[in-house]
């Protein structure tokens, strides 16, 4: 299972162990370098001291070598050795402990001697320095002028002699110190890793607690609890935008679910009456089959047509809301369109003595989908004819507004109230909720609004103080919605 906490824990532990390892190795190497440099400095110092004290003797091969140098030994029980060679690497002098032992010498100059590790005669680890230099006789001391006889007897000073010197000492102490350091680093490192193993998961758990709580809260949300909102107080800054968006999403979901729930309930409610009619008709026809006749079948047919119309309207609305509609734009002249729609309504309109007044230029046109626009106009005019008071006049106006157009259909309304206007476009809303048998399902305006949205237009409604209902369709002349 993919877990941020586990992933972070393992990666942090790995990174910490790696850093700890690198740091440990670096500390060890630096300490080793420092200790060896110190040892080398001591060896160099001794080599320089011995070089300064090494003098050629009167005889070419007989070098003066101070006694105290010959007794050089490592202080505090540390064994130390030296070997003095001539230019041909013949041993001229050496420590007493080196009877048959010969170093494998390497030599550098005094300023830059050669150092190397080696095995000492006692088998222990050691460090050696090798230098080559010229042993010079000491400068003559100023003396009182000798007598002539004495002058003739004094021998000449010895010639400088090139010699090579190797000094070796034990490095066991350094190795012991390094070994100790290694142990300290290993123990400290292991302790640190162990502490990290304990602390990091806890710290991460605490640090990721808001995220975990968020996850638990989100996990507890279902379709029945969409009213829940995530608290944003005391939330880490990083999570705030996420929680804020989640809350917005929940609000939209809640609204959408509520709308769907209401729609389902409304739909079920709307279906009850035709279903009840169908069932009652069928029950009666079945109970008294000898008395059932054409009337029952006519009723069944009418009810089926009514329910078919409802399903078609619902389907049209669903398609419009899902934008599952191919819009075919073309120039549409409005006046002929209105006249054509009015022709279909003329009989009903004349029956109610309702007239139409068109106030628009002859050439008024829109680049739009004629089927959708016709459906909108047909519905709006149909509503006006149905609900406007008998003998009233429907006024249609078309004019340019703010770079676009406004198409207004206005008619008097006796029974609408201002609080009804916002509900006009709700699905299944009817002013008179009882008119189930009139063919009006309360879906027409909702479908019109969806169609208008598809075309990129805006359909709205206002009710003036003198109870004139104005349905207005606004948009751009050429809308690429």
């Amino acid at each position: 299972m993919n877990s941020i906490r586990r992933l972070l824990t393992s990666r942090l532990l790995l990174a910490f162990t790696l850093i700890l390892g690198i740091a440990g190795v670096a500390i060890y190497l630096l300490a080793r370098l420092g200790l060896y440099r110190e040892l080398d400095a001591q060896l160099k110092f001794k080599a320089l001291a011995m070089a300064a004290l090494t003098k050629p003797g009167r005889d070419y091969v007989d070098l003066e070598f101070p006694e105290r140098i010959a007794s050089v030994a490592g202080g505090e029980g540390v064994p130390e050795y030296f070997q003095l060679f001539d230019a041909q690497t013949n041993i001229l002098a050496q420590s007493p402990g080196l009877s048959n032992f010969v170093f494998q010498p390497q030599f550098g100059v005094l300023e830059n001697p050669a150092f190397w590790n080696l095995r000492l005669p006692d088998g222990s680890h050691g460090r050696a320095v090798g230098v080559e230099f010229v042993a010079k006789p000491p400068a003559p001391k100023p003396k009182p002028r000798p007598k002539d006889k004495e002058k003739e007897a004094k021998p000449p000073p010895p010639e400088p002699v090139p010699v090579r010197l190797v000094i070796a000492c034990s490095s066991e102490k350094v190795n012991e110190q390094l070994q100790r350091l290694l142990w300290i680093l290993a123990i400290a490192g292991s302790g640190s890793v162990a502490a990290t193993l304990i602390l990091v998961p806890r710290l991460l758990r605490r640090g990721l607690e808001p995220l975990q709580k968020l996850g638990e809260q989100a996990g507890g949300i279902s379709a029945a609890s969409l009213q829940v909102r995530f608290p944003t107080e005391r939330l880490p800054e990083e999570l705030r935008p996420i929680v804020s968006r989640l809350n917005e999403l929940l609000a939209r979901l809640e609204s959408s679910f509520e709308r769907e729930r209401r729609f389902s309930a409304d739909l079920a409610h709307e279906l009850r009456t035709p279903i009840a009619s169908l069932r009652a008709t069928a029950d009666v026809a079945l109970q008294w089959p000898e008395q059932g006749g054409r009337e029952s079948w006519e009723a069944v047919h009418e009810l089926a047509v009514q329910m078919e119309a409802m399903s078609e309207q619902l389907l049209a609305m669903t398609r419009a809301e899902q934008s599952d509609w191919t819009i075919q734009r073309q120039p549409v002249c409005l006046k002929p369109l209105f006249n054509s729609v009015w022709q279909q309504l003329r009989v009903t309109a004349e029956g109610r003595r309702i007239s139409l007044a068109l106030d628009m230029p002859e050439d008024a046109s829109l680049d739009t989908d004629v089927k959708l626009l016709r459906a909108i106009i047909s519905n709006l005019l149909g509503n006006s004819v149905e609900y406007a008071p008998a003998g009233s006049r429907i006024e249609v106006g078309f004019h340019a507004v703010d770079g676009g157009f406004e198409l207004r259909i206005a008619n008097p309304s006796n029974n609408l109230k201002p609080e009804d206007v916002p509900k006009l476009f709700d699905r299944f809303w009817r002013k008179d909720q009882a008119r189930t048998a009139s063919g009006h399902l309360g879906l027409g305006l909702s479908i019109c609004k969806s169609f208008a949205n598809l075309l990129g237009y805006e359909l709205g409604a206002t009710l003036s103080g003198s109870n004139i209902l104005v349905m207005s369709l606004r948009g751009r002349f050429s809308n690429a919605a």
């Binding site: 009652a280 009666v284 109970q287 009418e302 009882a434 048998a437």
Partner: protein, 222 residues
Amino acid sequence: MKVLVVEDARHLRQAIVSGLRRAGYAVDGAGDGAEGLWFAESNDYDVVVLDIMLPEMDGLTVLRRLREKGNRTHVLLLTAKDAVEDRVRGLQAGADDYLVKPFAFAELLARIQALCRRRYGQKSPLISVGDLEIDTASKMVRRAGAPIELKPREYALLEYLALRQGEVVSRSEIEAHLYDEQADPMSNVVDSAICTLRRKLGTPPIIHTRHGHGYVLSADAT
């Protein structure tokens, strides 16, 4: 029994009215609340089947108006609203029963029958008058154990008289409870129906005439 059906859905109203008539009820139908109120106030119905969502005047208002005027007719609310609060509101407004759409017609019929019985203080579906037995549930009539075939309207007349056994029932009351607006008020349908019923019920006569007053269904010959 006379029933008023107030329902705006035309096909549903027609089906209920037709079914109830075939079941032997006298039925009037109204398509909106105002018309329904007028019918209810103008006639003496045994049961009013009332839709809630009605044009002109909603069903609950019709019911309240009736109760305010002292009308005690049993009212069965018929509606698509099935929420508990809707039922409570309807019953609190004075309804006697509540039926949610869609429904089985047999259930509506049974509820109407039950309301009719309640109106006349009859709890059992079996009514006995001497050796005459009337089963209001199965609409079966027996006399001395022998079944008697009756037409719906004849049965309705007998049931009405049986529910009011021992009482003098006037011709106008019979007309008001057994004949709807389609019946011709000038005809002698009541007299002929009584005559037919007497013939089918046989002897000894069980329906007695009280001249100038009406008819009595009683096992007692006096």
